[in-house]
């Protein structure tokens, strides 16, 4: 260990092979490393044991309703855009036990669960994913109450960000002001530079913990050329054609578009399968299941991911408020892009484009919003007394 830690924000350069050291460095500190890997026919985030599990030389072609793994003509470790799911399934697991209770005569008592939460190190976080995590922080870590399962895992997670040098056609982080470069919130940030001559990483520390890990890698201070190359690579990602979403005034537009005829048009295509909510890195809706053993001696409460697209999400008094698919799609979109702003002070969308890729009907949220913009509802509200 060097006595002088690398200064935060100072870029260092590291040969690609040298990045392998990051695994033992993190594991020594008690982290379980999570990173991208090829699993089946997609690049997903999973627990990794070693450097060689990273998807070297792989990329993915993404379009609306389509995802195809493709081989690259180089050995880039992070030469793709976002994977199928984000990191939320580690911080906010799809199924988590909230408590276990035991019968105690006619009463019961809650059993203390002393299992410590896992400590994760995320390697390969994209700027949009960092932004999504910050958004979920605002939702789940409140002033009065915090979501304790998320809080326990979120606290102390080690973040290794990767600045995107490619983007997918489904990306629109530019519109949502969340990328491609990772601005803050990481412990370490990497920019990959790969061509015929070299394969290196530009690394910078964003926190003291990051600096400590960086000190254990054989990195040298980066010279101006490498720094410029890294900038150019990130700009190349920005320049690649991305979809666009017009965000200025979108809150008022969507609130006013409640009766817009376009919703019926989308509803005719939407299957209400909920894929978009499963892959969205900011969707947070959950349901609670209370179960008990057949003999009634023990009970558990589980918290599970839920989706506003399910028919009984809004069930009350013997029926659902949102019976039609139209109402459910509208709820998701208007919540994500408008109501979220009132609730949490920012848009709920980071422009990762997963909902576009993974929709089996190929519904493209940016196109739907564009359609709503194009013909803003000209009709006055049905009840003139109710002024929005």
């Amino acid at each position: 260990m060097v006595s002088n830690l690398p200064a935060m924000g100072t870029p260092f350069v590291l040969p690609a092979a040298g990045l392998a050291q990051i695994f033992p460095s993190l594991q020594r500190r008690g982290y379980q490393v999570v990173g991208p890997a090829v699993r089946g026919s997609a690049i997903v985030y999973d627990l990794l044991n070693g450097f060689d599990e990273l998807p070297a030389g792989w990329t993915a072609e993404q379009e609306a309703g389509s995802y195809r793994l493709k081989r690259r003509n180089d050995g880039a470790l992070f030469g793709y855009a976002v994977g199928a799911q984000g990191w939320k399934r580690f911080l906010y697991p799809a199924e988590a036990r909230v408590f276990e209770a035991q019968r105690n005569g006619r009463a019961f008592r809650i059993l203390n669960d002393a299992t410590p939460p896992p400590r994760y190190a995320f390697v390969g976080m994209r700027a949009c994913e960092l932004a999504a995590m910050a958004i979920q922080d605002r939702v789940l870590l409140g002033e009065q109450y915090s979501e304790t399962i998320y809080q326990a895992r979120r606290h102390g997670v080690f973040l290794v960000a990767v600045n995107c040098t490619v983007s997918a056609p489904t990306c629109f982080c530019g519109s949502m002001h969340t990328g491609p470069p990772a601005q803050a919130g990481f412990d370490l940030a990497l920019t990959e530079l790969v061509d015929a001559q070299r394969h290196v990483f530009l690394v910078e520390a964003g926190t003291r913990q990051g600096a400590e890990v960086l000190a254990e890698l054989e990195a040298k201070e980066a010279d101006a050329t490498v720094r410029q190359d890294a900038e150019k690579a990130i700009q190349a990602a920005m320049a690649q054609s991305q979809r666009r979403l017009r965000t200025t005034g979108i809150r008022e537009m969507l609130y006013g578009a409640f009766e817009h005829p376009h919703w019926d048009e989308v509803a005719a295509r939407c299957l209400a399968c909920g894929n978009c909510t499963m892959v969205c890195p900011t969707c947070f809706c959950t349901t609670v299941e209370d179960t008990s053993r057949v003999d009634g001696s023990q009970a558990q409460r589980w918290r599970k991911w839920d989706s506003c697209f399910t028919q009984n999400f809004s069930y009350i008094h013997g029926g659902s408020v949102r019976m039609s698919i139209k109402a459910r799609y509208r709820q998701w979109l208007v919540h994500k892009l408008a109501a979220w702003i009132d609730q949490f002070g920012s848009s709920g969308c980071v422009g990762c484009g997963r909902c576009i890729t993974w929709c089996p009907a190929g519904i493209d949220m940016t196109q739907e919003v564009a359609a709503l913009w194009e013909q803003p509802s000209a009709a006055p509200p049905a009840d003139l007394r109710r002024v929005p």
Binding site: R106, F108, V139, T286, S314, R386
Partner: protein, 286 residues
């Protein structure tokens, strides 16, 4: 030791863990509606609540539901919950026996504007079981009677056998400066009171807009028509307060189920001044 303390703190900070309570009494209000009286089982008294707030009540291994607190906020020993049996968890609640353990979380949510209403007439309009979340407000007003001007209670239910708190309504009606009018959608020969919709009772009320705060709770369609009627009689939207309801799984703003436009019913509501939800209220499939 340090670890145990952290664990205890973590457990205390976990708002999803119910606190133990014990059923002290189950009182039948109507053929399908019962009032549960809960006592704290942990030795510590219940936290206080403000009229209009609700708790999440947990039946071991069965489920958890948001139920409005329906008792006197100044009775610190017991919390009352008036429950209508309509499904598996409400059925379990109303069939519980004194001594049974029930989990509680809360109280949560916003409350009736009892401070804002000081010095004014209070108009309470309730439909069906909607009278239950309003009863704590009535208790409070009666305990601080000099702080309020006239108290007017308009209550409607489907039929005489669906009326809750009948005896109390009669008692309240006999108090000075208090007007209680009850109506049913239909009645039998033994019912000599009003028959007709709640909005019909307004013709018997001398309303003083700008000097009245209205608190409304009942089926959403009923609240729509009541609000319409009151606006037609000159009540400003900011003086009308309603209690809204949506599906809830957590009660603390994380499960996302109770959203109503940009509002979370569990933390921004359930009580709202009408002008704040006006543009959302009545929107179909919101």
């Amino acid at each position: 030791m340090a670890v145990a303390k952290l664990e205890r703190e973590a457990a205390e900070a976990n708002e999803m863990l119910p606190r133990m309570a014990r059923v002290a009494q189950v009182r039948k209000e109507t053929y399908d509606t019962f009032t549960l009286a809960l006592e704290s089982a942990g030795g510590e008294p219940f936290p206080g609540f403000a009229p209009g707030q609700f708790s999440m009540l947990y039946v071991f291994g069965n489920g958890e539901l948001p139920i409005s607190i329906s008792g006197d906020p100044e009775d610190h020993g017991r919390l009352l919950y008036t429950v209508r049996s309509v499904g598996k968890t409400t059925q379990a609640l109303v069939s519980s026996q004194p001594g049974d353990g029930i989990g509680t979380r809360g109280p949560y949510g916003s409350h009736w504007p009892l401070k804002v209403a000081r010095g004014k007439d209070v108009l309470i309009v309730a439909g069906g079981i909607g009278l239950a979340p309003l009863r704590p407000a009535i208790h409070y007003i009666l305990r601080h009677r000099a702080d309020y001007n006239r108290l007017i209670i308009l209550y409607g239910a489907r039929s005489p056998r669906d009326l809750i708190f009948r005896k109390q309504l009669e008692d309240w009606g006999r108090l000075p400066d208090t007007q209680v009018l009850t109506t049913v959608d239909y009645g039998g020969l033994s019912w000599t009171g009003h028959v007709g919709v709640v909005t019909g009772l307004f013709r018997n009320v001398r309303l003083q807009p700008f000097h009245t705060v209205a608190m409304i709770c009942g089926p959403e369609i009923m609240m729509r028509y009541v609000i319409w009627e009151m606006e037609a009689r000159g009540m400003p939207p900011g003086d009308l307060y309603l209690s809204l309801e949506r599906n809830m799984k957590c009660g603390i703003g994380f499960c996302g189920h109770c959203q109503y436009g940009p509002n979370f019913i569990c933390k921004d509501g359930p009580i709202f001044p009408y002008h704040e939800v006006r543009s959302w209220f009545g929107r179909y499939e919101l």
